[in-house]
Symmetry: C2
Subunit: 321 residues, 2 copies
């Protein structure tokens, strides 16, 4: 259930409360492995996803990243060329060493038949945080820079392409069976921007990862892509595409499944609402997509306030019990 797998679980909140900061927890292999395993123990999902955050990459590049309780991420925003030049790509892999150790521990503890997914943020999405310094409703600072000074913005994206590809390669070497690239804010881009800032950087990451580890299975998640998911699949070369809950199911079946495995797409708010909304949502998704290559999932991250019983109800429905 996407990468915020733990937040809705009592056992996660108990463990989390013992650590002063969310980011610290991402760098503590024993604890991060435990958090990764908690939902597997409780629900027996087919796949586990590494407990981490997309902003470990800017942190590893030397940008100041903090998570204040209930406020989302706070970064020292990049002001322009000078701040981009000051990033330190050479230290990224060393900084992220604890994450690789987490992957090793999880892989060792997981049942053989359970897939372990590594992940990173896509360059566009990570850049929106690096430039704004925080979550924004419309990603305006990055969009402004991409329109006003595309050459400088390209330099930041290039750094993120290389760092992200190296990061994914090391996750696979440490034991990840497949990796996912989250482009949460891809959908806000106009057509030209979508090609240049969402498709092209992800294509380069896919190419770099596969040049080092041929055959690596890669899932892309271009949230809000709508019909552009077709050009995203074709342009990036990913194996599977995560779809949000706004994606029409017929379109996913007819236009996406012939090109890639489809993963999704129950609305997290339907899961939160519970009852009939879960049953009807699950049934529609299974009816439309279970005839082709398909991974059931939410259409975005689970909301922390989701009752565990709702997750159980969803799983019963998916598993046909």
């Amino acid at each position: 259930m996407m990468r915020q797998a733990g937040r809705y679980l009592r056992e996660y909140r108990e463990l989390r409360s013992q650590y002063p900061s969310f980011l610290d927890l991402c760098y503590m292999p024993e604890a991060a492995a435990e958090v990764t395993l908690q939902p597997i123990r409780r629900f027996g999902f087919d796949a586990a996803i590494l407990f981490s955050d997309i902003l470990v990459v800017p942190d590893a590049l030397g940008q100041t990243v903090k998570f204040s309780k209930g406020e989302g991420p706070q970064l020292d925003p990049l002001g322009g060329q000078g701040d981009i030049d000051a990033l330190r790509p050479e230290q990224v892999l060393e900084h992220l060493q604890p994450v690789f150790e987490t992957v090793e521990r999880v892989r060792g503890a997981l049942p053989k038949e359970t897939t372990l997914l590594g992940f990173c943020g896509a360059p566009w999405t990570v850049a929106t945080y690096m430039i704004a310094g925080q979550t924004t409703p419309d990603q305006r600072p990055a969009r402004m820079m991409a329109y006003s000074d595309p050459e400088t913005f390209q330099k930041l994206v290039d750094i993120l392409v290389d760092a992200s590809a190296d990061y994914l390669v090391r996750q696979v070497k440490a034991g990840a069976d497949a990796v996912q690239i989250f482009d949460t804010w891809a959908g806000i881009l106009d057509e030209d921007g979508f090609r240049r800032w969402a498709i092209e950087p992800t294509r380069r990451i896919v190419e770099k990862v596969r040049s080092e580890i041929p055959g690596t299975r890669i899932i892309g998640f271009p949230r809000g892509a709508g019909a552009r998911a077709v050009s995203y699949i074709e342009g990036t070369g990913i194996d599977a595409v995560g779809i949000d809950w706004m994606m029409p199911l017929e379109f996913a079946r007819d236009a996406l499944q012939p090109r890639a495995t489809v993963q999704g797409n129950l609305d997290p708010i339907a899961l939160l609402a519970g009852g009939r909304a879960i049953d009807a949502g699950v049934d529609r998704i299974l009816d439309a997509l279970s005839g082709g290559p398909f991974i059931f999932n939410l259409g975005h991250g689970i909301l922390p306030e989701t009752p565990v019983e709702n997750v159980e109800r969803m799983l019963m429905r998916v598993r046909g019990n």
Copy 2:
């Protein structure tokens, strides 16, 4: 340029500063007509759009609506069935009388060849504000109610369908040449919700308006619809569809223009960024869409901080000067 036409103009801000509240201004025919005419005088646009707000309908229904400076709308949120029953549909048209007077004044003052557009918010979008009481990043309160208690939510939508249809009919009778239905938050809905809460209520409005005034030209704007714009056009019966800047141009040309006039779609952030971003954006749109039925526009409302020179540059480019 969408409905917030005035905010970027000095002459609007001067006039606005003389009125204590934004909503008051919407109900003062002389002033509202002046604001509607300001951009036409300055730029000679082909069409004027009525100065008003989508939230005059909840206000007319008796819900408390306030606009605090820089904070967006504040409404007393509807808590459930009781609050919905307390709405007063019978008083809507009388309450909105000043708007119809504004339309009459504008139509009288506009050059004959300049189209006057009336508008309303679509029921789904208006309902998101009525239930949340404010702008929300994800429209969660309305989505929760629609999932948890669709019967009650349907009652609210039914009230809005009737009020909106009556409101548009009276705008046309007062002199509007065409009307636009803004469904700003349509894109957040899942497939079933999109059909039930975006397409179906708009279809009913279109039907009711045309049953009273056959042939009324109606533009729909299902923001974020992506590929679902096809089913939106076919399901609602609108004549023209507004597209946001995320809509791929090839898709708009191949899938939408055969079915409806297309209106859009320069990214307001490209207009704000200026320079090359404007030129390249305008050129791409004209190249893709000017071979079919097409109205050049932004892909969403103009941002208040947009320099007037940028609007001038855009117009020069569109007009081929």
